[in-house]
Structure formats: C-alpha cells, structure tokens
Amino acid sequence: NAGVTQTPKFRVLKTGQSMTLLCAQDMNHEYMYWYRQDPGMGLRLIHYSVGEGTTAKGEVPDGYNVSRLKKQNFLLGLESAAPSQTSVYFCASRGTSGKGGREPQYFGPGTRLLVL
C-alpha cells in the first residue's frame, strides 16, 4: 500500500495562475481532507469530503475549490493563486468503523506551494 500520496511535491506559481493539487489514497477510505499549514499556525482545515461526490467547507475554504469524482482521489484547486496561499498543503484520509470517531487520519507527505 502506498497510503496517501500527493502530487506535486513542490510548485512555484505566479500570482493569478491556477493549479490543481492531487491527493490519492489506496486504503478505500470514505473521508478525505485538505489542510494547509503555515509557520506557527498548526494545521487548518480547508475542505473535506465524506464520500465520493460530496464535499464540505472547513475553517479556511475561501480561494479554494475541491472535487471528489472518484473515491480514491481528492483534488484541491486554486483558480487564481495569491501570495497568501503560499503554504504547505497536506491531504489526509480516514476510514469509517461505524463506531464514531475511532478511525485515525492518515496523512500524505505534503505539497509545498510558493506563490510569487
């Protein structure tokens, strides 16, 4: 199992450019998440999905869009990148045990994005 993978690992964008970050998981997990992490800020939830075809907003959704067309993939899009979106982006997935919040989240290695 590869677990959770993220593509790309690093990217430099110019202000106003668009890009899509890809997250893939091979654990057949229902839930998937996108976080951003800035120095001294911990992880902040951008969007998440509780199943194929569904998405929901997290703490900081503005400026981002997501799609979950396939169960194993969760895409994060930046339509018009801004310097404030310079950050490290982490994707995570979680299974469901039917027993409440007992399943842990598994994280990908992160994508470093620099917006100039």
Binding site: G42, L45, Y48, G58, F90, G101, R102, P104, Q105
Partner: protein, 108 residues
C-alpha cells in the same frame, strides 16, 4: 466542536517521562480524544485515542479523568527522536480541528 488548550512548548531531556496536558472543558458525550505527532516536513501521525480512563499502546499512554475535561499524553523515557509537535483533538471524528499543538524539544 470542543475547544482544546495545550501548552505551546515543553522542554525535556533524554530518558525523562513527559506529560502533556490538554484541557477540553466543553467536551461532548460522544467526543473522543485523539493525539497526533508531527515531525518537521512531515504530515501528522496518529499516536493514541481514548474515551475515558487510561489507554496505553507501544508509543504512549493517555490518561483521562472521570469528568473528561482534560487529558494527559504520557511519553515514557523520551529520546531525541521524540522532538516534534503534539496535537490534542477532541470531537466525534468527521472534521477535527488541529490547533497549534505543543512543541516538545528533547535535549541530550
């Protein structure tokens, strides 16, 4: 979601036991308490989860008092490799909030 409060940072020496306490005064009946560990340049990693009393695994122990308004993560005999950020999360599980965590620095 229940709000959590934990120390910003802690220092320790190799071989010592480290206890990190998290306060969650408004924890709900169906909330679990989960701890994650994050090394620099990596995503967080699940350490331990509990609902009440004590939970122990090969990495750590989690102590939860009867009122569940706080919890303590205990790391026995830490080493330099335990230097990391530790996050306490409380909730039913769908969309947990990480916060800033506790930065643990272990020295020799």
């Amino acid at each position: 979601l229940a709000k959590t409060t934990q120390p910003i940072s802690m220092d320790s020496y190799e071989g010592q036991e480290v206890n990190i306490t998290c306060s969650h005064n408004n924890i709900a009946t169906n909330d679990y308490i989960t701890w994650y560990q994050q090394f620099p340049s990596q995503g967080p990693r699940f350490i331990i989860q509990g609902y009440k009393t004590k939970v122990t695994n090969e990495v750590a122990s989690l102590f939860i008092p009867a009122d569940r308004k706080s919890s303590t993560l205990s790391l026995p005999r830490v080493s330099l490799s335990d230097t990391a950020v530790y996050y306490c999360l409380v909730g039913p599980g769908t969309a947990l909030i990480f916060g800033k965590g506790t930065t643990l620095s272990v020295s020799s």
